[in-house]
């Protein structure tokens, strides 16, 4: 239940985020989820997009440094404690989370979060064991 996330290295310079997003827009690539990790000097733009391979190619053509990373997307109850419950399972299993961010769209009544941990395979098996719904690529495209 891994899905492909696109990561882009951005210098903290005026217009770089716009340029990256514009390049994707011109190719008709839609962004389903997005987050930016920022430091004082650079940022990492992380996205779930409709066509990751094409997005990578497009951005590289525009001189961006890009990487495809495996993450998992899980659907949690959209109510207080919904996400905390899922994370508790990982906490109990001693798995550190690298980063986490949310989808804009819901999956039915559930909120969708993108998750990257230090051990993705173990994370997936734990969450599946606990019957937390993980989204397949088709699920992601259907959102």
């Amino acid at each position: 239940m891994k899905i492909k996330q696109l990561s882009v290295f951005l210098e903290n310079k005026r217009g770089r985020l716009y340029e990256a997003l514009k390049a994707l827009a011109d190719e008709g690539i839609n962004i389903r989820a997005l987050s930016i990790a920022d430091t004082s000097e650079f940022g990492i733009l992380r996205m779930i997009v409709t066509d990751p391979e094409k997005a990578k190619e497009t951005l590289e053509k525009n001189e961006f440094t890009v990487k495809l990373t495996n993450v998992t997307a899980m659907a949690v109850k959209d109510k207080p404690g919904g996400l905390a419950e899922a994370l508790k399972y990982l906490y109990d299993a001693n798995i550190n989370i690298e980063y986490i961010y949310a989808f804009v769209e819901k999956s039915g009544e559930k909120a969708v979060v993108v998750l990257r941990t230090e051990n993705l395979d173990k994370t997936i098996s734990i969450l599946q064991e606990k019957e937390i719904k993980l989204l397949s690529w088709d699920d992601v495209l259907a959102l």
């Binding site: 990561s7 290295f9 990790a37 990492i44 992380r46 961006f64 440094t65 890009v66 990487k67």
Partner: protein, 434 residues
């Protein structure tokens, strides 16, 4: 492989005798024909008759780049202008440029030493030599050209620039020997990849790289990218251009063609000669040039001398890789610093492409160094901590080598200026009129 085995493997005694005879003639010619030398000799209280043995070379005053500028344009010529068949000029970034004049015989010598350089790295008449050094007042293009022509190679006089066409030519013609600046070679590898041409699929077997400072790590990078053997060439306009010294296949120093040029290493501060193995400023004397004989020219290049016979069979003394230029040295917080040191650090911290720029500022009466390093595809991680570690490792390694704390900034690929000639590595923003 030797171009001129008899001379390249000459015995020490024979060489000393040959050098002495040639030095005597050169000194006599310089004294008689060049007022500048006569004046210098008079001031030092010596005449050509005082050169009674080879070591008497040390009695002769040094010639500096500033001296050459003073006599611009033709004041150093020892032959009448009617005998001068070619002119080259060094890029004059400060003040007047230096003009070098060649007689027909000088051009012959240039071809001879360059033919030795190319043969040393395996070039034969069956090779296709692409000369991507600039042709023009700069000596690079013509120098390699004359040597390759002497051997009888097929020469592609591409000159510098028009990089995509250079690569198409290499692919379509099957170029086997490439001659250009090392930074341009790396740039070409990058452009080739952009064009969808894998550089290792080209037929290049060896490269003759020089005209700027580079490092052992950069050699490894060029060799890996192109799948060729990269060799160092050394030369300078004031002496003849490229072809003063060249690295043999052993890659352990560059052989100085001592039947034409005498190399000494001196302490740049005192002018005293330094023993073998000790680093200092390279001083060169031409002993066959007619157009512009050069006596004890201070090159401002920092290197050391390696004596004794080489495994390749040549007996000519070698100089080690140029370690810096006395005028490229940047003094930061009173410490001498060379760009190659920073380059070495970047390349040691694995994976980062060797594209960098050093910016020196003085925000509050204290010098600060910022090193901008381009992020490479290979080292990019989507986790902040990995990128921050990379930055820290770079900072630590540079500090280890130069002894000063620096700030490393990782920038996006291809944002630092690329060069088709010499790389601009240092931006000094310190204001000197504070």
């Amino acid at each position: 492989m030797y171009w001129n085995k008899e001379l390249e493997c000459i015995s020490e005694e024979q060489l000393k005798e040959l050098q002495f005879q040639r030095l005597k003639n050169t000194v006599k010619m310089a004294y008689e024909k060049v007022p500048y030398y006569r004046k210098k000799f008079d001031e030092a209280g010596i005449t050509p008759d005082d050169i009674k043995k080879l070591d008497d070379l040390r009695k002769i005053p040094f010639t500096s780049k500033a001296d050459l500028r003073e006599v611009y344009p033709f004041g150093m010529f020892a032959s009448p202008l009617s005998e001068i068949v070619e002119i080259h000029m060094s890029s004059g970034t400060t003040g007047k440029p230096v003009v070098a004049g060649y007689t027909l015989n000088d051009i012959e010598i240039w071809g001879e030493v360059m033919a030795r350089c190319l043969t040393m790295i395996g070039t034969t008449k069956n090779d296709i030599v692409q000369v991507a050094y600039g042709y023009g007042l700069f000596t690079g293009g013509f120098g390699v050209h004359y040597g390759a022509r002497k051997i009888g190679c097929m020469i592609v006089p591409a000159s510098a620039g028009n990089t995509r066409r250079q690569i198409e030519i290499m692919r379509d013609f099957g170029t086997t020997i490439l001659a250009c600046t090392p930074s341009y070679a790396l740039y070409m590898a990058e452009v080739a990849q952009e064009m969808g041409i894998e550089p290792t699929t080209l037929k290049l077997k060896a490269g003759c790289f020089g005209a700027e400072m580079w490092t052992e790590a950069m050699r490894t990078e060029i060799e890996k990218r192109f799948g060729l053997n990269a060799y160092n060439i050394y030369g300078l306009t004031e002496i003849i251009g490229p072809g003063v010294a060249h690295e043999c296949v052993e890659k352990k120093g560059f052989h100085v063609f001592e039947d034409h040029f005498i190399a000494e290493i001196i302490d740049p501060d005192t002018g005293d000669p330094l023993p073998e193995g000790k680093r200092g400023e390279l001083v060169l004397t031409t002993i066959t040039r007619e157009g512009m004989p050069m006596l004890r020219f201070r090159t401002r290049d920092i290197t050391s001398l390696i004596e004794g016979k080489c495994a390749c069979g040549r007996t000519f003394n070698r100089i080690e890789r140029i370690r810096g230029r006395t005028d490229d040295m940047i003094k930061v917080r009173g410490v001498m610093l060379f760009p190659y040191q920073i380059e070495q650090a970047i390349l040691e911290v694995q994976g980062v492409e060797p594209h960098y720029q050093i910016v020196i500022t003085r925000p509050q009466h204290l010098d600060e160094i910022e090193v901008m390093v381009e992020m490479s595809k290979e080292t990019f991680s989507d986790e902040v901590k990995h990128i921050e570690n990379l930055k820290k490792n770079l900072e630590r390694r540079i500090e280890d080598i130069i002894g000063i704390r620096v700030k490393v900034t990782l920038v996006e690929p291809k944002t630092l200026p690329r060069s088709e000639g010499k790389a601009k590595r240092i931006i000094d923003k310190r204001s000197l009129n504070e």
